[in-house]
């Protein structure tokens, strides 16, 4: 972290008025003085017959401090663990280190590092046994297994958890054998609408074990005065540690209070009330306006069915757009350092999403550089992130192309069988995309322009010309009535479309009893 004043002088080409000090140099100087006057203490065993092993722990701590990199290492570890191979510079100032420590005679729980973005919490926690017995019990999983069984029983008794194994050994033995990954780090998840998970890491301290913990809160909660509490299931909440939530990653917040077209095709309107954008997530709130037709959105609420109202985009400074799919959204729950999640929650908390509005949140699979983002797009409007007045999205093709459309497979042969490798009717597909389309009948070739790229496709040829460069497709383009049918391969490779297969029951049950009836295409725009 550089000196702000020196940055200003540098920017203004002013000679400095005083030298810039390096915190590492100051730290080394302070440590040298402290080492000279205060050697590392050695503690005697507190209980006869039980060797205290704090010396090793303290020696490790002093070594880490002398090296001057422990805190930086914790920070780097968290960022690399949860966001590997990503530019995490925007997140670094928000990674908290030197956090809470809770200790008894037998245990020490340390929060090595934590990052809170207002919606998700990421943390690395270490547990150390402070006595020989505790350490051995921890490393052998004995204490873990026995303690977890007690925790499991308590869950069953207090919360009516009906998933109870037939006997204690069914829980204890797999844990002892290391075969059963369980959530050893737990919290009061009832306070949130989301989920949590943990995973053991290679330990960062001798005689201890280290876990990564991730909590998705389901809503954008922002800064909270109450800290978050976390504890090990097998030790109980009396050894809980706290993580402050009062300094989340700074969001860019908008309060548009504008009625927009949540789904222009069905004429559904909603008022966009809040938008929160961080490098790790985007959350917005939509209050329904008018009647949202029953059966369109309020039944069978799988995420796919409601994808349309989740469709937002972010505009980069170079003008290109990022959609949830480009940002890494999938329909699976995210795992550590893998994937992201678009969630939909009813404002009133109703399971069937029939309340007055919706909260849509998208977590990204890699940190986004907010300095590169200029606006948020939703419902036919563009909302500049500097808070200036929103503008309607002028380009109708852009507006329409937000939404998914149907891609029909080719039916060919005398029995008009479905060929799932082809998308039929290129002309209709281009219309749905908002792409330019021109067909040269004598040449049996179509030219498609979209997102600044020109693709030329010729019937019976598996070579596409993309901006003049040849590209081999996995099968040839074929004539399809007055248009062409193109390999599905083309749609995903060249145009970045995400294709979701749709199925219908087969007339004669075979295999799964379903056959492919087509695809729903979602433009990726990036």
């Amino acid at each position: 972290m550089s000196n702000h004043m020196h940055e200003l002088w540098g920017d203004l080409d002013l000679p400095p008025l005083y030298p810039q000090l390096d915190p590492e140099s100051v730290r080394a100087r302070v440590e040298q003085s402290l080492d000279a006057e205060q050697p590392a203490p050695v503690s005697a065993p507190k209980k006869p017959g039980r060797r205290r092993i704090r010396l090793a722990v303290l020696a490790a701590a002093v070594l880490a401090l002398t090296a001057g990199t422990a805190l930086a290492a914790h920070r780097a570890q968290l960022l690399e663990l949860f966001f590997p191979d990503s530019d995490t510079s925007a997140l670094e100032p928000y990674v908290q280190t030197a956090l809470d420590v809770r200790e008894t005679e037998d245990w020490r729980v340390t929060v090595n590092s934590a990052l809170y973005d207002g919606q998700s919490l990421y943390a690395v926690v270490t547990l150390q046994g402070l006595t020989q017995e505790a350490e051995e019990g921890l490393l052998s999983n004995e204490i873990v297994a026995e303690g977890y069984w007690d925790y499991y029983l308590d869950l069953h008794q207090t919360r009516g958890n009906t998933i109870l194994p037939p006997d204690r050994e069914g829980v204890v033995q797999p844990i002892l054998a290391g075969e059963m990954p369980v959530d050893l780090l737990v919290c009061d998840i009832d306070a949130y609408a989301g989920w949590y998970q943990s995973r053991e890491l290679e330990s960062s301290v001798p005689g201890g074990r280290t876990w990564a913990f991730q909590l998705y809160m389901g809503d954008y909660l922002g800064a909270r005065s109450e800290p978050f509490e976390l504890w090990f299931s097998f030790l109980g909440s009396q050894l809980s540690v706290q993580i402050p939530l009062n300094r989340p990653v700074e969001p860019i917040s908008l309060t548009p209070a504008l009625t927009v077209e949540a789904d222009w095709r069905l004429g559904l309107e909603g008022t966009l009330t809040d938008v929160s954008l961080t490098p790790l997530s985007c959350t917005f709130t939509l209050e329904r306006q008018g009647d949202w037709v029953q059966g369109e959105y309020l039944t069978n609420m799988e995420p796919m069915d409601t994808k349309e109202v989740q469709l937002f985009a972010l505009r980069r400074s170079d003008g290109t757009l990022l959609t949830p799919w480009a940002l890494g959204s999938t329909d699976t729950v995210s795992t550590l350092a893998d994937g992201s999640y678009v969630g939909l929650r009813d404002l009133a908390g109703r399971e069937d999403l029939s309340g007055t509005g919706l909260i849509v949140s998208c977590t990204f699979d890699a940190p986004l550089d907010l300095e590169d983002v200029t606006s948020f797009l939703y419902g036919g409007w563009e909302f500049p992130l500097d808070g200036s007045a929103p503008v309607p999205v002028e380009d109708p093709a852009l507006k329409e192309a937000f939404f998914p459309f149907d891609v029909h497979p080719l039916r060919s042969g005398p029995d008009r069988g479905i060929d799932p490798g082809y998308a039929s009717n290129l002309e209709e597909l281009c219309e749905n995309l908002g792409a330019g389309y021109r067909y040269d009948r004598p040449a049996r070739a179509a030219t498609v322009t979209w997102q600044g790229r020109t693709v030329v496709l010729t019937a019976d040829s598996s070579t596409a010309l993309v901006d003049g460069e040849p590209l081999e497709l996995d099968r040839p383009v074929v004539k399809d009535g007055l248009s062409l049918a193109v390999p599905v391969d083309l749609l995903t490779r060249i145009w970045d479309l995400e294709l979701e297969p749709r199925f219908q029951p087969a007339e004669q049950a075979e295999g799964t009893g379903e056959v492919l009836s087509g695809y729903t295409a979602y433009p990726a725009w990036s």
């Binding site: 004043m5 200003l8 920017d11 203004l12 000090l21 401090l65 100032p93 956090l99 009062n246």
Partner: protein, 186 residues
């Protein structure tokens, strides 16, 4: 709350907490000490004062209150140490045009001081919230998120204001010729 945990750990003799505070406050204490020590202090002297302030914090850790930021305590300590250092330094007899450690001689020093005084005056003349933002972020080495929050700005807006403000400062200080237009002083 973050600083509460740091103070708690400091009081528990955790030197890692001290290291974290050093990372956090070195630049701020540098600014405080430099203002007290006069223009262009020697690096060694400045580093000694700042380091001594952190050592003093460590030695006084038992008396620290957990719910109070150590920032003002550190600032007062650094300022006092800087004044002590000034008082204890031997008086110079003749100042050469160029000091042996590369620091500017008196004439150049006077020019620098004039430039920086002009800069400070221009910042003071800014309209709010830019004035408070510049003073907090640059002169007090406040983290931007804290300065922005204090002024009710979101981070993106704060960054934009800083960028625009710097541009205006550059224009005001260089005028039309591109050279610094140092105001005459008595």
């Amino acid at each position: 709350m973050d600083e509460q945990a740091l103070i708690r750990r400091l009081k528990a003799d955790d030197r890692q907490a001290l290291a974290e505070l050093i990372d956090r406050y070195t630049h701020y204490l540098t600014a405080v000490a430099a203002r007290a020590m006069g223009p262009c202090p020697a690096r060694e002297d400045l580093e000694e004062v700042v380091s001594d302030a952190f050592l003093a914090l460590w030695r006084a850790r038992a008396q620290l209150e957990e719910d109070r930021s150590p920032r003002p305590w550190l600032a007062v300590t650094a300022r006092n140490l800087a004044y002590d250092r000034l008082r204890s330094s031997r008086p110079t007899q003749e100042i050469p045009p160029q000091l042996p450690d590369g620091r500017p001689g008196p004439e150049e020093l006077a020019q620098r001081q004039a430039l920086h005084s002009q800069l400070r005056r221009l910042v003071e003349e800014m309209e709010e919230p830019d004035r408070s933002l510049f003073l907090g972020y640059y002169y007090e080495e406040e983290p931007l998120y804290r300065a922005a929050s204090r002024l009710g700005l979101n981070l993106s807006t704060a960054k934009t204001r800083l960028a625009r403000g710097r541009k205006r400062l550059r224009q005001a200080m260089t005028g039309k010729g591109g050279e610094f237009d140092v105001e005459p002083h008595a």
